[in-house]
Assembly symmetry: C2
Homo-oligomer: 671 residues x 2
């Protein structure tokens, strides 16, 4: 039943060998990795205008200039990450670059920042997408949380089906949004020249008195507006992280896609900012209607089909922007799990070759965040981008160090791109120096922005994101320590490569009655030829115990029977105590406890058995030096097993070969 | 934590040896076993008056006569059950008597009727007790369901503590009710003679026209009123069931207590009926205020402290009447479980020597009933007493048969009282004939009443109780068939008393890496000297598998390693398939699958391990012919176990003795 639902939702399992098949061509990769940075133009302008409005009309006039600075920053970051694509063709996320060049601490800081930010991306993008919907259909506003959660579930399912299929499904809205936005620019130009553009619906709204804000306060306001506008840069690193998913030549294709993305983002962000200023659109505190939808109303007309199409495309790309995180988070979590910083389960690929556990974890965290913040975009967005710029900065500094090592010929990184270890020619040296220069500019620029963003946002709610990063950082270190301790504990001494037999095995058979399951367990225990073989029973009912003793003697079972008293009728306690006493008396002995157990085929039959074996097994598992042997007896399937007919066979020579048939090391494969 | 709460609520566990200590003196036994029949006088009169009111004032005048018939019936049944006490001193419930004298079908019918009726007793008595509370404090009416559930929980806890303690606690309200009711009679007599008794508050209520009801319709009405009045007889059988709980001489003390109970019930029931008629008290459809509380108002005065005391005593005894069922149900269920008609768990005595599972089951069923019927007494009471009279009738017919056998000297019953098997003297024959005559009258009388009750109640909701009885009957037969099939399957052939060794053991060790847990499992598997020893690993990651092979060869592990491909990364499927294939190829071989398993000490450490061993174990349990050996590795407790230091020891002679040290059958006791 569960399996059928899973197959319907997720699809048939894929063979591991088909992993290579999920590679992406550039046009699909653009949709998969770039919906986040492209879609963020839908709210970046709004965030700038929202902050500036506090400074009155004078401040609002600065919006285009702030837009220019943000666009410049975007170009710088894109240029920087192009270098990463070539240097780390196997995936150059901030974590990988930091770990190889800056050490574990920086790497974990970058990883923590990225993990938190991926969750934020999903929460912010989906919430923003829901705002696009409610801007067009205000009647849906009260159901924002439910819609957002529904969208996250759909996204998670699409990603559980696998990257390629979800990429294909996601290409349409990305290109529709880009196309429709460009169409809006053209339409706006034509309309401005011909009939003239009507101002935005919020153009007449009063702004605070301008006189109060000047000098340092005005500067602070501009800086805060810039910090808010930096949301346009979120998700730029996704491509450098996902280089291995590209078709060959991977690095080159990734770099081209990154450039295309940068171009599209700058054009759209610039155009929307210009239009917002031209139409005098104001941002409302609850973001509804959004600035971009006000522009669309002015350009296309409020009730026109193109307007609704545009809103739909906006909503779609915003929701799909979350998909960038659904690609990034599980991949990063998988690398961290491989490196033993996160639980190993995050490294397992699911039925469809994706990191299913990471996808589910991300969706759950985002849903929790949306419920916790009641799908309030303005509050959610404050938690955003500190993580982005933390990872940007660490990644760029790491790259600077990377090139430095390449020049010294001491680069030991996994990326093989341009990092040749010796015999660097003049042209190569020049290329490396150029790359290093680009990354240095990127590093300085992003570091400054990180300081700005931290200073302006930490009191506006971003402290929560910082706390989450610190907690993650500490948890990852602790996890790693735990795994390393376990590895050290279980790794055998290389000087002692042999398998040593336990010095002494004592087999204990648990019996209640002398029925076939018990006889079978006794037979098996005897077949393992332990140093000591004994049987134990629990005296709950004197009558039953007497019967067992009588049967034991009548059948002349050649095994000593120990009766453990259970004065309080507690099944487990006395037995555990008995086993522990045995073990204390013989600390070098391994105790194999044979438990005869009924196995039934129907659920209601379970109700008719005591399940005491199950509870006893669970308790024994935590008793050191004890090995539990489950001897199942399958009821009703004619499983008579090895209870043969030869009387007294137990007294005769064992039917088991005197020595196991073990030859040299033999390795076979079975499919 | 759970343990502390349990100890607080239930008390310290008691040793099985203290079972004899919970015997009851007569005065406590009366309170424990008789609160049901005594308390039913609180609603029996009301049920008669309620039905009769439909026939107008003429019909109401018949109430005392119906009361007389009910009282006669009560005397007859008490006389009958006195015989049972002597004949079955080890407990003569309807089930036991029917099984020994009438066969399995009758016995199960009686048992099903009793089980349903015990649940009904709890539901009806507690609901009725809540009515006594709400009659005094109408403000509590909306919370009737919650109060009823709370009372059942308290009852269940008191009974989980054990019979004796609960009996002592319950003696006070039983005697208080009896005393206060007798006081009410005296007070009413004094008042009637001196100042005169005011009529009941409902005396003036109009009744339907009397003219319409006459002849056959009137007869039917009287019969229905009688059937409703028979609720006074519920719980009479409790004493005969509980003879073993009495102090010695058990049978005599039980018979005396039964007679006392009959006397008290007849006096109270007669007095209340007389007062109800004298004061012209009418029953209201929702039973609030109840007839008995109207009488108390008239006698004691509405606001007087004695009135509130009387209401409290009424409520208390009604609630405690449910205690009769808490004594009867678990005991009967335990006997049925012993005879394999109900799950064995119902036969286990809990920490306090009571049948805890039966107590919990009864409480749960009663709570479900009260919620389902919204604590509506009028609807609940319709489901009642069919079961009582079914068991009465079967029990009495069984007793008639019992005496018949005693006369023939062929009695094989467990009861040893008067059933002497040969050499019956004349006086003894006379006594038996007298007992048989009493039981015959009882049997005929109760059979007639059963027909009357069934005919008048089955359409008023009692069909639900009948359905429940039939379902229980069928389920008990099915359970017995299942247990008998299992017993037949697991009982060894008496002609082949020896324990035969399995013909061939193949040990399969599951490995993922060549760490200490795996080496330990390999060593243990080898120590059991199987016919074949092999290791198996699952290839999920080619790199890891290559590493394992390299380690295997480097360490020269003298065990062949099989690599099972897992193309879909499913951990369980391929392994289960592999084991099944092995088994299909060697159906005579027993496969011991050794699973190395990490055991951690903290819950969060569980999150950091895959738990694949657990899932694999669960699946393997259902694979016939396979024995699972858990080889735990306790992390972080320095459990280095048997990994000794002697290189190559596995190649040397095993450290295990050549043959287990088995002598003659030896039975030891360990405390």
């Amino acid at each position: 039943m569960f399996d059928v639902v899973k197959r319907l939702l997720v699809g048939r399992p894929l063979r591991s060998a088909r992993l290579g098949e999920t590679l992406l061509p550039k046009r699909v990769a653009l949709a998969v990795f770039c919906s986040d940075p492209i879609s963020s133009v839908a709210y970046a302008t709004e965030q700038i205008v929202l902050v500036l409005a506090a400074g009155g009309l004078v401040a609002l006039r600065a919006a285009p200039w702030i837009g220019v600075v943000v666009a410049l920053l975007l170009v710088t970051v894109v240029a920087s990450y192009r270098q990463t694509c070539f240097a780390y063709p196997s995936g150059g996320g901030a974590y990988v670059v930091s770990r190889e060049n800056l050490g574990e601490g920086a790497a974990l800081a970058a990883a923590a920042a990225l993990l938190v930010d991926y969750v934020m991306t999903v929460a912010v993008s989906v919430t923003s997408g829901v705002v696009a919907v409610t801007s067009a259909f205000p009647v849906l506003s009260p159901h924002a949380v439910a819609i957002a959660i529904g969208l996250i579930v759909v996204l998670a399912l699409a990603n559980l089906r696998g990257t390629k299929e979800s990429g294909r499904a996601f290409a349409v809205p990305t290109y529709a949004f880009v196309g429709l936005t460009v169409l809006m620019f053209v339409w706006a130009g034509v309309k401005a020249v011909t009939v003239g553009l009507p101002p935005a619906s919020t153009a007449g709204l009063p702004v605070p008195a301008t006189s109060g804000v000047a000098g340092l306060a005005m500067l602070l306001l501009l800086v805060r507006a810039f910090a808010s506008g930096c949301t346009a840069l979120t998700g730029v690193e996704a491509i450098s992280n996902g280089v291995p998913s590209f078709e060959k030549p991977k690095a080159r294709n990734a770099a081209i896609t990154l450039t295309m993305m940068g171009l599209i983002a700058v054009v759209l962000f610039g155009g929307i900012t210009v239009l917002a200023v031209a139409l005098d659109a104001r941002a409302l505190p609850d973001g509804d209607p959004s600035v971009i939808s006000q522009i669309a109303v002015s350009v296309f007309g409020g009730g026109s089909p193109v307007f609704y199409l545009f809103q739909a495309a906006t909503a779609a790309i915003l929701v799909l922007a979350a998909n960038t995180a659904f690609n990034g988070f599980p991949g990063l979590a998988s690398i961290l799990a491989r490196d033993r910083y996160l639980p190993r389960q995050l490294h397992n690929r699911g039925d469809r070759l994706v990191f299913s556990n990471g996808i589910v974890l991300l969706a759950a965290a985002a849903v929790a965040l949306i419920i916790g913040f009641d799908a309030n975009l303005d509050r959610l967005i404050q938690l955003y981008i500190i993580g982005v710029f933390t990872s940007f900065t660490l990644s760029q500094f790491g790259m600077v160090r990377h090139w430095q090592r390449s020049l010294r010929g001491s680069d030991t990184g996994r990326g093989g791109g341009r990092s040749v270890s010796d015999g660097l020619g003049g042209a190569e040296r020049h290329a490396i120096r150029r790359s290093q220069a680009i990354n240095t500019i990127g590093a300085i620029f992003t570091a400054v922005v990180l300081v700005v963003v931290f200073a302006t946002k930490v009191t506006h709610g971003a402290w929560l994101a910082v706390v989450a990063m610190v907690v993650l950082f500490v948890a990852m270190r602790a996890t790693n320590r735990y795994y390393r301790r376990v590895t050290a504990e279980v790794t055998p001494d290389p000087d002692d490569p042999a398998v040593t037999l336990p010095s002494r095995v004592h087999a204990v058979v648990l019996v209640s009655r002398l029925h076939k399951p018990a006889l079978r367990a006794l037979a098996l225990a005897r077949a393992t030829r332990p140093a000591v073989l004994s049987a134990v029973t629990l005296n709950i009912d004197d009558e039953e115990t007497r019967q067992l003793r009588a049967d034991w003697e009548q059948r002349a079972v050649p095994v000593p029977l120990t009766v453990v008293e259970a004065p309080y009728r507690d099944l487990n306690g006395p037995l555990i105590t008995y086993v522990k006493q045995l073990r204390a008396a013989n600390p070098q002995t391994v105790f194999m406890v044979f438990i005869p157990e009924y196995v039934v085929t129907k659920w209601w039959q379970q109700l008719l058995h005591n399940q005491s074996a199950l509870r006893f097994k669970a308790r024994l598992l935590f008793t050191p030096g004890v090995v539990v042997v489950d001897v199942p007896y399958h009821l009703g399937v004619g499983d008579q097993g090895w209870l043969g007919a030869r009387r007294g066979a137990i007294m005769a020579t064992s039917a088991v070969d005197p020595d196991p048939e073990i030859g040299a090391t033999e390795i076979r494969s079975v499919r």
